[in-house]
């Protein structure tokens, strides 16, 4: 019996009512204002500001690429390409939120295209993932590595859904927007992937 995975989980689940915050004093507000300044300066041609913008988002873009491609050099190349595209598209971006959504969408599509181009995908679906042949204790030690390997065996779009969900903790609607697919398709990809991963990790394949 497989336990259902909760969908639509939010990042923060406060148990206490949040105290009233004064926006001007909020670090988040200051951060957002700083980001907006960086974007404005970068759009005006300030390369130092653009470099700061890259440093702000480079871990996100690089990690998406690394988790999808499983190769550091390939992930570095892809991240560079994404930021070059960002440079050429700066005039179309209005806010920091817009930049983040744009980077996620472009990085995701680049990853999917790169996997298709290189034909690195091993064609085993969620019901044909490799069997676990390791002892339980060893499996626990290497569970993260094993999970990455199992996810790497998923079809590229399903893999991207899992990475966006667990790396970026994105809501399903945002994943759907980023990948240009219906929310129900995202749910379906995620549900089937989780079921298959759980079966393989616990050795309960059907």
């Amino acid at each position: 019996m497989v336990t259902a995975v909760p969908f639509g989980r939010t990042n923060a689940q406060p148990t206490q009512p949040a105290p009233l915050a004064i926006p001007v004093a909020s670090p988040h507000f200051a951060d957002a204002a700083e980001s907006q300044d960086l974007l404005t300066q970068a759009k005006a041609g300030d390369q130092a500001a653009f470099a700061a913008l890259i440093r702000r988002h480079q871990n996100m873009v690089f990690s998406l690429a690394l988790h999808m491609l499983r190769s550091r050099p390939a992930a570095e190349d892809l991240a560079q390409e994404v930021f070059l595209k960002l440079y050429r598209s700066l005039h179309r971006l209005e806010s920091e939120t817009h930049v983040v959504a744009w980077l996620r969408r472009v990085a995701s599509n680049q990853c999917i295209n790169e996997i298709r181009r290189r034909n690195h995908r091993q064609e085993f679906g969620t019901d044909t993932l490799p069997e676990t042949g390791q002892a339980p204790e060893l499996r626990e030690v290497f569970v993260a590595e094993r999970l990455e390997a199992l996810v790497a065996g998923l079809p590229e779009r399903a893999r991207m859904v899992v990475v966006l969900r667990y790396q970026e903790e994105m809501p399903l609607t945002e994943i759907a927007d980023a990948l240009g697919m219906p929310v129900n398709t995202v749910k379906s990809h995620l549900r089937r992937s989780i079921v298959a991963l759980r079966e393989r990790l616990t050795g309960k394949s059907q």
Partner: protein, 112 residues
């Protein structure tokens, strides 16, 4: 085993190379001028200019074609007129020659 938790652990963000931004800037500076410098306004103007050029060429071509057709028609009419005048001239010459024949010869030939 908590798969949800394990997946969050496995897919945690990783550290990007420290010089990534520098490498991107180096590529920007070695590349030709970015397309953003063209700007949407000037690209719009370019599109309008291209459209105007196409229209001007089409209009000029049309006018040239009409002129050529007119010239060909004039040449044809001129040629027809020349032929008509030639025929008229030959007929008049024949009549003239017959009128200038002596009356006796005309009688012998049965011409009144």
């Amino acid at each position: 085993m908590n798969l949800d938790h394990d997946l969050h652990d496995a897919f945690r963000r990783k550290q990007a190379p420290a010089d990534l931004a520098d490498r991107v800037l180096a590529r920007i500076n070695e590349a030709p001028a970015p397309s953003r410098q063209v700007g949407p306004a000037s690209s719009g103007v370019r599109r309008w200019l291209a459209a105007a050029a196409v229209l001007a060429i089409a209009a000029g071509g049309g006018q040239y074609y009409a002129h050529q057709r007119q010239a060909a028609e004039a040449a044809r009419v001129q040629k027809d007129l020349r032929i008509a005048m030639q025929i008229t001239s030959e007929t008049l010459a024949r009549v003239q020659s017959k009128l200038s024949q002596p009356a006796e010869e005309r009688r012998q030939q049965g011409i009144p």
